[in-house]
């Protein structure tokens, strides 16, 4: 894939993320750029996902409110959106395929919490799919 050219907004934004077992793992809400150590132009270092990341896209007061909400949901001290290091991206096509399982992603925390504290309490939650 050397030298492949993409337009970020067109080919990456709002694409469905699939984990290594083809399970749905959220959408590409924003991208993180970093300047490499040896100098030079910035490159994409992470996918940002979740309400904190989406807040940046929505902008304005709605975005600010959403960001505040997201920061309260995240139990870590850091005031930043959940990130998926770009190194775990396997392939970019009509979806973005990741090389890790959903549970290993930072973005899965809210899902996991709701799963453990709400859904699991209801009888039949671990039942085979209907």
């Amino acid at each position: 894939m050397a030298g492949r050219v993409l337009d970020a907004g067109l080919d990456l934004f709002d694409r469905q993320l699939l984990d290594k077992d083809a399970r749905l793992a959220g959408k590409v809400d924003d991208l993180e750029f970093s300047f490499p150590e040896g100098g030079g132009p910035p490159h994409v270092t992470a996918i940002l996902a979740g309400p904190g990341a989406l807040a940046g896209r929505l902008g304005g007061r709605l975005g600010a409110w959403l960001e505040g909400l997201a920061n309260r949901l995240r139990d870590s001290q850091e005031r930043r959106p959940a990130r998926i290091p770009f190194g775990v991206v396997k392939r970019i096509g009509s979806c973005v395929d990741l090389s890790v399982a959903k549970e290993e992603l930072e973005t899965d925390r809210v899902d996991a919490w709701i799963g453990d504290h709400v859904i699991s309490r209801i009888p039949g939650a671990r039942h085979a799919p209907e």
């Binding site: 337009d7 907004g9 067109l10 490159h43």
Partner: protein
């Protein structure tokens, strides 16, 4: 730096003239190796103008044929796109990106890269 911070920013040349707003960025996969992905995606340049709308709908690709009224409408809005190569970027401020040179000599995105 987040991509959403670049999008929508006004691009301003050395004389202080506006060249339009950033609607998308072009990436090239020739940066340093990053994890299991391979060469990382380098920020090659900024795309200014309305074209991103039609592109988003899918009309960038010549294979997208219809529906006709939408394709025509998109084509009409399409042609004022311009491209700024990353090394022309002097400074990034909140909501503004300063570039070297003049706003007049910016190429069309399809001509670039």
């Amino acid at each position: 730096m987040r991509l959403s911070e670049l999008l929508g920013a006004e691009v301003v040349d050395e004389q202080g003239r506006g060249a339009g707003r950033v609607h998308d960025v072009r990436l090239e996969q020739d940066g340093p190796i990053i994890g299991g992905f391979g060469a990382s995606l380098r920020l090659a340049g900024l795309i200014i103008g309305w074209r991103a709308l039609g592109a988003r709908f899918g009309y960038e690709r010549a294979s997208m044929m219809g529906p006709l009224p939408v394709k025509l409408l998109v084509g009409w809005v399409h042609h004022d796109g311009r491209y700024v190569e990353w090394d022309r970027v002097r400074a990034i401020e909140p909501g503004r990106i300063l570039i070297t040179g003049s706003a007049d000599d910016l190429p069309h995105p399809s001509a670039a890269s």
